[in-house]
Symmetry: C2
Subunit: 337 residues, 2 copies
């Protein structure tokens, strides 16, 4: 395996010049640069990241903290991060932060302390006080995606605005009995996304001058199966059935669509449904939804982080855009008889 000395010898320059030429730091004459690149290419030389990291303190590697990988949203964000980092020549090191305290402790007190990462991206992870302290103690650039962390600049969608928009879409079509499928108290712990969405729903109702009906609001765990179950409850109620449902995630919304179908209802004639995410299945089910772009969120997080690493500017919190995608799951409510 060729080393920097071999390249130096082959190019007829010193190792310092090779280092400068290959890293782009410091001045190198065009001729030396060309000679070094040629030699490096011929020898198949690649800088050793351990040696370079030890000497410079830079690793060209970013740690990514995620709560789960096997989930549409997280996997999408991760893909965006990974793609963007690779483009910049950075490696992506993945840390799955489970609920196991021992494992979490290991991550914060060992893995992240090993001097292996230049910076950290935390995707929707919920951290304890001490964990946040440990993160900050790394004294490395830090960016959050999706979940607000104390003192960590975060990219977020405005969940309240998202659900206000979804609800308003239904109201503007003429619906007055709009059900809400949100988080249960259990999932509520996660960053209050559910409660923010609930607030947006209520705000939209209030702005339309419609009283909130608690009987129309149910909680689920963001899965299709639970969306199905709770939607059946909502739709089975003989005297308080909603004509529309706003669900806080596409998976729950799809569950609601399937529940309505199983009840023999015609969509969207008898029931309108709106979700949130623009999940990969949303189009197939013709689901009207509020799109968020997790892939782009990941890319954006990387862009912010790199700017911070390069000291161009500190990372700052940022609100991400969202967009109403109208498909076939929404229409005017059935005419009253």
């Amino acid at each position: 395996m060729a080393g920097i000395k071999d390249v130096a010898r082959a190019a007829g320059v010193s190792v310092a010049t090779v280092s400068r030429a290959l890293s782009g730091r410091g001045n190198v004459s065009p001729s030396a640069l060309a000679a070094v690149q040629q030699a490096a290419h011929d020898l198949g030389y690649v800088v050793s990241s351990t040696a370079s990291g030890l000497a410079s303190g830079r690793t060209r590697n970013i740690g990514v903290l995620v709560p789960v990988i096997n989930h549409w949203f997280y996997a999408s964000v991760l893909e965006g991060i990974c793609t963007a980092l690779m483009r910049e020549g950075y490696d992506t090191t993945l840390y799955q932060l489970t609920k196991d305290p021992a494992q979490r402790h290991q991550i914060f007190s060992d893995f992240l302390q090993r001097q292996r990462v230049d910076a950290v991206i935390a995707v929707n992870v919920e951290l304890s006080e001490t964990e946040v302290v440990a993160l900050h103690a790394l004294d490395k650039p830090l960016v959050g995606v999706g979940g607000p962390l104390p003192g960590v600049p975060t990219l977020q969608v405005d969940d309240e605005a998202v659900s206000a928009l979804g609800t308003a879409h239904l109201l503007s079509l003429g619906h007055t009995r709009v059900g809400y499928i949100g988080g249960s108290s259990e999932t509520d712990v996660d960053f209050r996304v559910p409660s923010h969405r609930r607030i947006g729903y209520e705000r939209a109702l209030a702005e339309a001058g419609i009283d909130l009906d608690e009987a129309l609001c149910v909680g689920a765990d963001f899965t299709m199966a639970q969306g199905y179950t709770v939607a059946k409850q909502l739709l089975g109620n003989p005297d308080a059935r909603p004509t529309a449902i706003f669900a806080a995630s596409d998976e729950m919304a799809i569950g609601a669509i399937l529940a309505a179908r199983d009840l023999g209802m015609q969509l969207p004639r008898e029931l309108s449904v709106v979700g949130v995410d623009d999940h990969e299945l949303a189009e197939f089910f013709g689901l009207t939804t509020i799109r968020q772009l997790p892939h782009e969120q990941g890319e954006l997080a990387v862009a912010m982080l790199l700017r911070a690493i390069r000291k161009e500017e500190p990372a700052r919190a940022h609100t991400l855009g969202h967009e109403l995608i109208v498909r076939n799951s929404t229409s005017r409510p059935p005419a009253d008889h």
Copy 2:
């Protein structure tokens, strides 16, 4: 940031002893061990992975190659890998191998050459001749999951047996017209999984003495949407409609279920459907399927790799188990009238 010298001083021993005590290599007296551990804990000392890696050549980091992240199967395998590696104190560095030749070249000629990984796991990636050569040239332990790579020990399910089992299940229920939804020529390129599954389907038919009917075999791209589309074609045929469908993935099988419902068919009375995977949605749809356990596959790959790294034994190819999970999507065919 405390270094090994600080620990040595605090423990009253030499840095060599600290290194030995903390790495578990070489002999250390119990008293010295205790003193070192105490000192390290007090000082919050963690071995610098760059320094340790440079000096020892071991990085405690594994590179994982995946074609996509945002997909149930790959995300599950990745989760299994990540969990298992973490348990062993290893980091997971993720490389998404897209179709972009420039990016692929970067991964094989830069990223993997940086001396940052001790070994590589390749999940279902399809590599060119030169890429395989580059991988082997790393001279590091290598394990494949799901897709056979020349010269790389691989964990695989027996795709032929899987689909023979799924098809046989339907035949044993009495079906004689069993449709097949497999890969299209486009996805066929990926490791011949589709064609292996096709072969298993045909074998099961042959064993049951049933002639293959090409009209009952259609290709799709493994998504729910295409499964839906092609199933409609199959089911809409007035004089050659199958009474059962074996789909090479759960997502396509679910698409077929939805297609049948939209045609007003009663499942499983008028149509039986079997998938492959035991996807997270399979249970919700009551889908009978052949389960494979991607999470476990990831864990197994790690176990093999670590044994190879520790020189206990070379990695060897291995066939993974599968299991028929019977739910509500299969039953006897409707009685002929």
